[in-house]
């Protein structure tokens, strides 16, 4: 807001985060398996959230809003991989097998 470099950086980070978020949405909708979907969702949640919040911080300048955004960023960066890990672990322990190989078959199908 104060000088154009911060505005340009904010726009860059916001558009990059939007691209990551859109890619994650397409991945959640289109990928064939639960574990590939959790790959798409977990990575793009962390990366897209990081980029969008940093873009908002550049747009906000040095105010209290930036401090709140920093807390939000720290919390999202900690909890999003943790939730993905808990989901994958729970699904694997409950017996959901990933699809492997070039033909994408489940590993309990061939025996």
């Amino acid at each position: 807001m104060d000088f154009p470099v911060a505005t340009a950086l904010g726009w860059f980070f916001l558009s990059a985060g939007s691209a990551f978020v859109l890619a994650g949405g397409i991945g959640i909708l289109r990928l064939p398996d639960f574990f590939s979907r959790i790959h798409a969702a977990g990575i793009t949640d962390t990366m897209g959230a990081w980029l969008i919040v940093v873009g908002l911080m550049f747009s906000a300048g040095w105010t209290l809003v930036t401090a709140k955004l920093l807390m939000l960023l720290l919390f999202l960066v900690i909890t999003s991989p943790l939730a993905s890990h808990a989901l994958a672990k729970a699904a694997y322990v409950r017996g959901l097998k990933p699809m492997i190989g070039r033909e994408l078959i489940r590993e309990d199908d061939d025996d």
Partner: protein, 94 residues
């Protein structure tokens, strides 16, 4: 610019909602709802900037906390069968 980010977030939220309705297993649905919650946090933050009043960030923080706790609770229920103990036949702890 904030409008474009808001539109991207809304499109992604629609996709995760479709997955949460379609999802073959319960884990797909929980994954979609968790991703939806994260996108909601980002949407609250971006919409605050879009409307020129970035005062909703406290709501975004609280929503992030609730989303994480809810996901962990549902996962614990889906894995152990109740929310109190950790009686499980597997040897590893989550």
């Amino acid at each position: 610019m904030f409008g474009a980010a808001t539109a991207a977030l809304l499109v992604c939220m629609a996709m995760t909602l479709i997955r949460s309705i379609l999802g073959p297993t319960v884990f797909d649905r929980v994954l979609a709802v968790n991703s939806f919650g994260t996108k909601t946090v980002l949407l609250i933050a971006v919409y605050g900037f879009l409307s020129g009043r970035p005062d909703f960030l406290d709501l975004a923080l609280v929503y992030a906390l609730m989303n994480f706790i809810g996901t962990i609770a549902v996962m614990k229920f889906a894995r152990f069968g109740d929310l109190a103990g950790m009686e499980d036949d597997s040897e590893e702890i989550l």
